[in-house]
């Protein structure tokens, strides 16, 4: 039987891929803190986290999560996956490129006794993403 925290996170990722962002955000406690290290942002509540998720879809209307792997250890869950899609919307300060991307992502989540995430960290290869989309050139 799957670890309950893994099941919660997997359900959140599935909801994200279905673009049901309100349901995806339910994995986070109302006052949970989530850090997006790739973008240098911190969400200090479930509501702020939901806005983030919406922002991702504004950048890419077909964004979805694939190739997930989950590792549970005590209160912690690590997730490794790819986010794929086409950048058909703006990603400030960059305009829509119309190009496909495959973004490697790792996340670390700490769950409370109530089964809600109280802390999350999202790591992604933002430099690689901008290069895939043609917004930045590789350093000389």
């Amino acid at each position: 039987m799957e670890n309950k925290n893994v099941a919660s996170l997997r359900a959140a990722h599935d909801a994200f891929s279905a673009h049901d962002f309100a349901r995806a955000a339910q994995v986070v406690a109302p006052t949970g803190r989530v850090v997006d290290h790739g973008r240098g942002l911190t969400a200090n509540s479930r509501a702020e986290f939901e806005v983030w998720l919406q922002d991702r879809a504004a950048m890419s209307s077909d964004i979805r999560i694939v190739d997930q792997e989950y590792i549970a250890a005590g209160d912690w869950v690590t997730a490794r996956f790819r986010a794929i899609g086409v950048q058909d919307g703006p990603m400030p300060p960059f305009p829509a490129s119309g190009k496909p991307y495959s973004l490697d992502v790792c996340e670390v989540w700490r769950f409370g006794p109530d089964g809600l995430a109280v802390e999350g960290h999202n790591y992604s290869n933002g430099l690689g993403l901008l290069m895939q989309l043609g917004h930045l050139s590789a350093p000389a």
Binding site: I71, A73, V108, N125, G126, L127
Partner: protein
């Protein structure tokens, strides 16, 4: 040596002692490394070249382990890399600027060696802190 110790020893050997060759015994001969610092999967030799490049760029390169946990054959480690850009880094001349950037490394350990590694580093943040990429 526990699986967790294998991963920890990598950060001690490379991140603190700057001993790239000393990391070799920690990796299986057929190890595969998926690193955000490279466009394709690497073997240890390729990974070592990246290691040397970073040491050339950051003579004071350092690493701090923020969190680490293990389950089965997997070890996940959250780290913060830091350094001062005092040497050439893959063609980028030294800027004299410092950076600090978090990363996550997931290792699959088999028979006391790293058989597969997934390393997601925030290279964009590092480049922005060095002033060689525009900030968003």
């Amino acid at each position: 040596m526990s699986n967790q110790s294998v991963s920890t020893r990598f950060f001690e050997t490379y991140g603190q002692r700057h001993d790239v060759e000393g990391c070799r015994p920690l990796f299986a001969a057929d190890a595969v490394i998926h690193s955000s610092t490279a466009p394709a999967s690497l073997d240890f030799e390729g990974y070592a070249q990246i290691g040397y490049a970073f040491l050339n760029g950051f003579a004071d390169l350092g690493v701090e382990i923020l969190d680490q946990f293990a389950a089965g054959d997997r070890v996940a480690t959250r780290v913060a890399w830091s350094g001062t850009h005092t040497g050439e880094l893959n063609g980028i001349p030294p800027t004299g600027r410092t950076f600090r950037s978090e990363a996550i490394v997931i290792d699959r350990i088999v028979n006391g060696q790293i058989k597969e590694r997934w390393d997601v580093s925030n290279m964009l943040s590092m480049m922005q802190q060095l002033g060689v990429m525009p900030a968003a």
